[in-house]
Symmetry: C2
Subunit: 247 residues, 2 copies
C-alpha cells in the first residue's frame, strides 16, 4: 500500500486505502469474521455505481444532514466496519453536530467493543476533538430485537429522534424505524433490506459520503434544504444507475 498511499492519483487509490483500513481494523480486533466479505460485497456495488457520488446520492446526503442538524437528539451509530473505514469522518460529523457516537455491533463481544472504543478514542485524540463515545455500558434495549443485538444506551440510541446507521443490518434498521425514529442508512446496495427500510437511504461509499457531508457543514448550512426529497424515488434512481451499467 505504501507506494499507492504516496500517489492519490492512482486509479485504485481510494479502494486500496479502504482495504488497508479494513486490514488495520482486523489486526486491532475490531471486525467480525464476516466483515471483509461484507466489504467485498460493498466494493462490487460501488464498482457498479462507477465509484462516485451521484447527484441523487448528493440530494439524499443533503436531506440527511439537514435532518441531523434539525434533530433534537441526534446520534451516530458505529459498528466495526464503520470504525475501521470512517472513524475520523464519524468523529468530525459528531463534533460538528455536537452529538454522541454510540458503538453498536451485531456480534457483540467485550473484546470487540473494547477494540472499537479504543480505536475511536485514539482517533479523537489524534484529531484533537472530544466527542462522547457511548455503548460500553448499555442500559436500554431496542424493542423487537433478541439478545445482545438489542443492547443500547438510553441517553444515546434509545432516546434519539434521528439516527445515522451506516452499514447496518436489516433487522436492526427495521427495529429502529419501528420505534418512530428517522433512520439514515448508508448502504451501497439499494436493494438491501436496510436500504429499503431506511427513512433516508444514502447509496454511496461511506467515506466518500461522510467526507462530503463534513465539507458541507464547513461551508453553508442553509443550502442543505431538500424539501422535495422522497426516499423511494432516490432508491429508484440508484437502481436505475446500476441497471444502466448493464445496458
Amino acid at each position: 500500500l505504501d507506494e499507492i498511499a504516496a500517489d492519490p492519483s492512482h486509479p485504485r487509490y481510494a479502494s486500496l486505502l479502504m482495504r488497508h483500513r479494513m486490514e488495520v481494523g482486523a489486526a486491532k480486533g475490531m471486525l467480525a469474521d464476516s466483515a471483509l466479505i461484507a466489504h467485498g460485497r460493498g466494493e462490487a456495488f460501488d464498482y457498479l455505481l462507477g465509484e462516485k457520488t451521484h447527484a441523487w446520492a448528493e440530494r439524499a446526503m443533503r436531506h440527511a444532514l439537514g435532518c441531523l442538524i434539525r434533530a433534537k437528539s441526534p446520534v451516530l451509530s458505529v459498528n466495526g466496519n464503520v470504525a475501521a473505514l470512517a472513524a475520523d469522518e464519524m468523529i468530525r460529523l459528531a463534533n460538528h453536530l455536537n452529538c454522541s457516537l454510540e458503538v453498536n455491533i451485531f456480534y457483540r463481544t467485550p473484546e470487540r467493543m473494547k477494540a472499537i472504543i479504543g480505536h475511536l478514542e485514539e482517533r479523537c485524540e489524534h484529531l484533537g476533538l472530544s466527542v462522547p463515545i457511548l455503548g460500553q455500558a448499555p442500559n436500554g434495549r431496542i424493542p423487537g430485537l433478541e439478545g445482545p443485538r438489542a443492547a443500547c444506551t438510553v441517553e444515546g440510541i434509545l432516546n434519539s429522534d434521528v439516527i445515522l446507521v451506516p452499514l447496518e443490518d436489516g433487522d436492526r434498521c427495521e427495529a429502529l424505524v419501528n420505534m418512530g425514529k428517522t433512520v439514515i442508512v448508508v448502504d451501497l446496495n439499494p436493494l438491501s433490506r436496510s436500504a429499503q427500510m431506511g427513512s433516508i437511504t444514502i447509496v454511496n461509499e461511506v467515506v466518500r459520503a461522510l467526507t462530503l457531508m463534513c465539507a458541507w457543514l464547513d461551508e453553508d448550512l442553509l443550502s442543505l434544504s431538500e424539501p422535495t426529497f422522497e426516499n423511494h424515488r432516490s432508491l429508484r434512481e440508484a437502481t436505475e444507475t446500476i441497471r444502466s451499467g448493464f445496458d
Copy 2:
C-alpha cells in the same frame, strides 16, 4: 456454522458453507490478503444472479466441458480461493478428464504454495483419487507477464491447449488467450476483464458450476455438444439477467 451444516434446507446454507470453507482456507494459510474481499465481491454478483445456475450458464458449462473432453492437453488451474472453495470438485473433474491440476497463484509465496498443495493432496487422499498436482517447481513462463506471476510448468499450463482458470486475474487470463489457448473462465461478474477476455466464460458460482459439470460427466457425454455457443452472446445473456433484477 454447525447448526446450519446440519440443515441443507436453510436458505443461506450454500452461502454460509462457502464462507466456512474460506475461513478454513484462511486458517490453513492458503489465501491472499484480498481473498475474503474478492469472495464478497463474488457474493454480491451471485446475489444479483439469484444464486442459481441460469440456462445460458448451463450452455456455457456444457460447451466448456465438451472442449475439455476433446482437448489434447487439458489442464485445470487452481489458486487459493479455488482450492479453499472447490478443491474436491476440481480434483473430481481432473480425475474424470485424466488431466493435471496446476497450482498457479497471483501472489506467489512458498508458504501459500505449500499450504494449497498440501490441502489438495489431503483432499485427494480423502476422496481416494490420484491426480497429478503441478506448480511446486515451475519450469516455464507465460509470455507477457512479469515476475513470479508468469511462473508455470511446461508439462501443465505452458503446453496445454484448453485450460480451466476459475476466479482468474484479468492480466493472466489475457496472457493465456494470447498464447492461443482455449481459456475457460469461471467468474460471477460478466463485466470483469477475465469474463470479457475468456474464450468460454461461465458466469456462475464456482462450486455450483463444477458440481453440475462433474454430475454431467457421470451421466452422458454425448449431450454436451453446444455447436452454436457464442461467448459474447452468453455474456450478454448474463448481463441481461442481472439488469432485469433492477427493473
